[in-house]
């Protein structure tokens, strides 16, 4: 019984990390209908900057602020400098669906290379801001620490903040309209280009949060968030790319499921299981757990 509880807690820890990155992917998707594979690269940059800040100032809080700010800034720059041009020149025909995928994948490669040139490929140790020892109940030490709790809480806070922004504010409505139908949004007076940039800023900031928290008490390298990107994408698809709540739930479901696979069946089955889950969701419920389906045809 204790082992099941421990496995469950490990799953929540891993799952909340997936959730944070999945939130960033969903934010870009909801703002621009692009799956941003460059998100991991953006988060790597903001995390390296945070690492520099921690090294120079010793303040994790300041590093966190920098990670969020740099993540947001980078997101805004990529959208306004790269994606906007792409949308202008490749917005129609089959290329419109493929071009953003190619560009964001390319972006991930370029960012990793540049980061490697600046900070080298040698791993950097990132200390946790809080205790990483598991909570103790009676004489049992749980595999769930204050750092794990911090990540779960931050995922919940990011989800709540952006859910409110998207569902309850005029900016959120503009973001959704610009993503769903840019033409109608423009005909309604919405400045679609600027709105999209704001969406990327939000996603970049959320990715910045994910990057610094995921790397806390871990080793940072230019590739260290790549695997996370794959699991986060799977989590976002499970929850439904439209839903911020879905990103969090999808992350937790995937994290818990994979931790049971890891503990009871072995490490080698973790990645294939994630892939099988991804395919099954796409086949059975492509809109995800929280996706909305069904529309009147006339």
């Amino acid at each position: 019984m204790q082992q099941i509880i421990n496995t469950f807690l490990i799953g929540i820890s891993i799952g909340s990390i997936y959730s944070l990155m999945a939130l960033a992917l969903v934010l870009v998707w909801r703002s621009t209908r692009v799956v941003n594979f460059g998100q991991a690269g953006q988060a790597i940059v903001s995390t390296y900057v945070a690492w520099e800040v921690v090294n120079r100032s010793g303040s994790y809080f300041l590093a966190f602020v920098f990670a969020v700010a740099i993540g947001g800034l980078l997101g805004g720059l990529i959208e306004s400098g790269l994606m906007r041009t792409l949308f202008k020149h490749a917005s129609e025909g089959p290329i419109a669906a493929v071009a953003p995928v190619i560009v964001t994948l390319g972006l991930l490669g370029v960012i990793r290379a540049v980061v490697g040139l600046i900070w080298t490929n040698e791993g950097k140790r990132f200390e946790s801001p809080v205790d990483t020892a598991g909570f103790v109940i009676g004489d049992t030490t749980l595999p769930f620490s204050r750092l794990n709790l911090l990540i779960v809480v931050m995922a919940a806070i990011v989800m709540i903040i952006f859910s409110i922004v998207f569902q309850k504010t005029n900016l959120g409505l503009s973001l959704r309209a610009a993503a769903y139908n840019p033409e109608i949004a423009r005909l309604s007076g919405i400045r679609v280009s600027q709105t999209r940039t704001i969406g990327w800023v939000f996603a970049g900031a959320a990715g910045g949060v994910a990057g610094i928290l995921v790397t806390s008490n871990d080793t940072l390298t230019p590739n260290s968030l790549d695997t996370l990107l794959v699991f986060a994408f799977t989590a976002a698809v499970i929850g439904g790319l439209e839903s911020l709540v879905g990103a969090v739930v999808g992350g937790l479901v995937l994290g818990i499921g994979l931790s049971f696979i890891l503990i009871y069946l072995g490490t080698s089955l973790v990645f294939p299981t994630a892939f099988i889950v991804l395919v099954l969701v796409l086949l059975i419920r492509p809109a995800g757990i929280f996706g909305v389906k069904g529309a009147r045809s006339a």
């Binding site: 005029n170 409505l173 503009s174 959704r176 309209a177 769903y180 139908n181 033409e183 109608i184 949004a185 423009r186 005909l187 309604s188 007076g189 919405i190 400045r191 679609v192 909305v292 529309a295 009147r296 006339a298």
Partner: protein, 235 residues
């Protein structure tokens, strides 16, 4: 007044609009009639800034608006309801309506405008929290016009609002369009394939064929012209 002068619009090598000139008096309703591919939709998309013109100029209320972006034209009182029930299916009825007034940033004005739309189309009032893709075709068209109304236009560009709708719903849509012009003083350019329906509520008729105006003038006179009726109006 809406003034269009020698407008030329191209789709690649094809000249979709070939030197069109016309005027629409403020507060009047002009029906643009023509068959498929005549250039009607391209004309409206150019007037609303969605499509760039190659040559020619457009003025609205004495100010040149050629080449302006759609989002800027909305701020100048020009609203375009594009072809095919121009609503966002994934958003609720209320959100679709609110879109039209977001740019003003005035919540009380927005609420008042939405209330006016509900008075205009009570059926929308009953479905405010439903997604737009759960509405019937007629309701979606009402919603599209409602969204345009919320942006408080002085010039409304309507592209085939009767397309695919049942005759009774078409009657209601045309009656509303006519009311918006007569009672609210909105200048309307109505693009339609339903020639008789559109001309019967219009002050002016403009008949387009292959990007060129073949006739324009008083709508009632166009209806009564036997040569035009058989050549372009199809009855």
């Amino acid at each position: 007044m809406l003034k269009v002068e020698r407008l030329v619009v191209e789709h690649g090598a094809i000249r979709a609009i070939d030197g069109i000139s016309f005027e629409v008096a403020t507060g009047s309703l002009a029906a643009v009639i023509g068959s498929n591919g005549a250039g009607k939709t391209t004309l409206l998309r150019t007037l609303s800034g969605l499509k760039e013109s190659k040559l020619g100029k457009v003025w609205w209320n004495g100010r040149e608006i050629t080449g302006m972006k759609p989002e800027d034209l909305v701020r100048r009182g020009i609203s375009h309801v594009s072809e095919g029930k121009s609503v966002i299916p994934e958003l609720t009825v209320k959100e679709n309506l609110a879109l039209g007034g977001l740019w003003r940033g005035n919540k009380s004005e927005l609420a008042q405008s939405i209330e006016e739309v509900v008075n205009l189309f009570p059926r929308l009032g009953e479905r405010m929290s439903q997604r737009a893709d759960t509405l019937s075709g007629g309701e979606r068209q009402m919603l599209a016009i409602g969204r345009a109304w919320v942006s408080k236009p002085s010039l409304l560009l309507l592209d085939e609002p009767s397309l695919g709708l049942a005759p009774l719903v078409v009657e209601q849509i045309f009656a509303t369009v006519s009311m918006l012009c007569r009672e609210r003083g909105i200048t309307i350019v109505l693009v339609e394939q339903n020639a008789m329906g559109a001309l019967s509520i219009a002050d002016k008729g403009i008949i387009i064929n292959l990007g060129v105006i073949v006739a324009q003038g008083d709508a009632k006179q166009l209806i009564d012209d036997p040569a035009l009726r058989s050549a372009y109006l199809g009855y």
